[in-house]
Amino acid sequence: MNEISVQSATQLNKILSFLTQEHKQKIPADMIHILEKKADTQIDTKINKISDIDEENILPETRKYLAYIFLNYLATEEEKKEYSIILKNNERQYQNYLKKKFNPENIFGSKQKNIKNENIEEKQNLPVVSKKNIFQWIWEKLKRIGRKKI
């Protein structure tokens, strides 16, 4: 919680101020203390009433910390189970979206084809080098020496 930004801490502090005492008591006191200490009363949180607590009005960082606080301190057991399913569903949907947008097969697919074609062309242009074994090499050498002496 120490890493939270001043803007998010201010928003989060304002949101938690709407909670009933019964709910507030479930959140660790040191966490509330950090938020109160970091909050800057000069910042406009855009949250003046309960219905302002909306994803559109809060920072992404605030939303994440709010979700963390809800899941760990405010949710009933039934709410935790349901919210865990929702979190996983959202993650899966996001990963599918990323896969579609940045599909490695789509990015590298056409380049792979080009590399294959280039390899074939290069092979066709290269000079043919025959492979000799050691005995053939020694025999060639002896032949050259024999020609020189003559």
Partner: protein, 298 residues
């Protein structure tokens, strides 16, 4: 019904915006709502005409796409697919309406209503008729092809709830008749307190009844009345009256008078991802470990 407003609020058209459900699932949801529009019962029509007032009491109500259709009571999340059967879709929407408008509050003496329904079915005058119907419903007779989807679905599950069993033995011990649709004994019966779980029974009975009403299954509603008497049906009708009145009240109220902080918070966090929470959990653990280490060094 304000179809365009519903789509604007709950549908995701742009692939970059992951909030909301895709077109296929939304089309199915709209189709389900349109069944309400053409209903003979004005209370059913009233629900869909004023559906946007859900936002006042349940701002976190949202629609997800998924293979299985179900309703999450605590998060007011309704999951549907493009292929969901209408009886199922309306059943789950019945759960949603009961939860949002009435917090699934069980009517007084509903446990007595269930007992009286059972007594009516097993009364000497009605018992033979009941046994024959159960065998027909469970596919043990030659007329099994005549069973409607509504009988195999909502009617079957209502019978299951009254007896808190997935099936019954009819006549002889070995003649076990399993209902085509049911919930398990553990779901409907509270073993710990040795009594029926009236909250779950009422929740499912209402959802099943709602499905029959929206799909205008008058024949199947009469079957329930003949099997279990008038009181069960009357209880469901009273619940529809209450919901209809509640909708009229909510329309007149300002959102601030109705919404609670927790429900509004749920709305704000509904599209958070698992990895986002995990990042914070890891940071919190590191902070705690650091504090403990500093505490030990001092």
């Amino acid at each position: 019904m304000q179809e365009s407003k519903i789509r604007e609020k709950y549908q995701r058209d742009d692939e970059q915006d992951l909030r909301g459900t895709n077109v296929g699932a939304m089309d199915r949801f709209i189709e389900m709502l349109k069944l309400h529009e053409n209903n003979d019962d004005s209370r059913i029509r009233n629900i869909v005409e004023n559906i946007m007032c859900i936002d006042k009491v349940a701002p976190n109500f949202t629609i997800f796409e998924g293979e299985k259709c179900y309703f999450m009571h605590n998060f007011k999340a309704y999951q549907i697919s493009r292929d969901t059967n209408m009886l199922v879709a309306t059943h789950e929407f019945g759960h949603a309406i009961l939860s949002i408008m009435n917090q699934t509050t069980v009517p007084e003496n509903y446990d007595k209503i269930i007992e009286e329904a059972k007594t009516h079915a097993l009364n000497p005058e009605n018992k033979e008729n009941f046994k024959q119907y159960i065998q027909y419903l469970c596919g043990k007779t030659d007329e099994k092809e005549q069973r409607t989807e509504a009988e195999k679905g909502p009617v079957s599950d209502i019978i299951s709830s009254i007896f808190q069993l997935p099936g019954l033995r009819v006549g002889t011990y070995d003649n076990v008749c399993y209902f085509p649709s049911s919930h398990s004994r553990d779901y409907y019966y509270d073993k710990e307190h040795n009594k029926p779980n009236t909250e779950r029974i009422f929740d499912e009975d209402f959802a099943n009844y709602y499905s029959l009403k929206v799909n205008q299954c008058t024949k199947e509603i009469e079957i329930i009345r003949n099997l279990f008497g008038d009181e069960l049906i009357q209880t469901m009708e009273k619940e529809l009256d209450k919901i209809s009145e509640k909708i009229l009240q909510i329309q007149k109220l300002d959102k601030e008078e109705v919404v609670t902080p927790i429900e509004q918070i749920k709305k704000a966090i509904i599209f958070t991802r698992q990895s986002e929470i995990e990042t914070i959990e890891i940071a919190q653990k590191k902070e705690k470990a650091k504090e403990e280490k500093e505490g030990r060094s001092i």
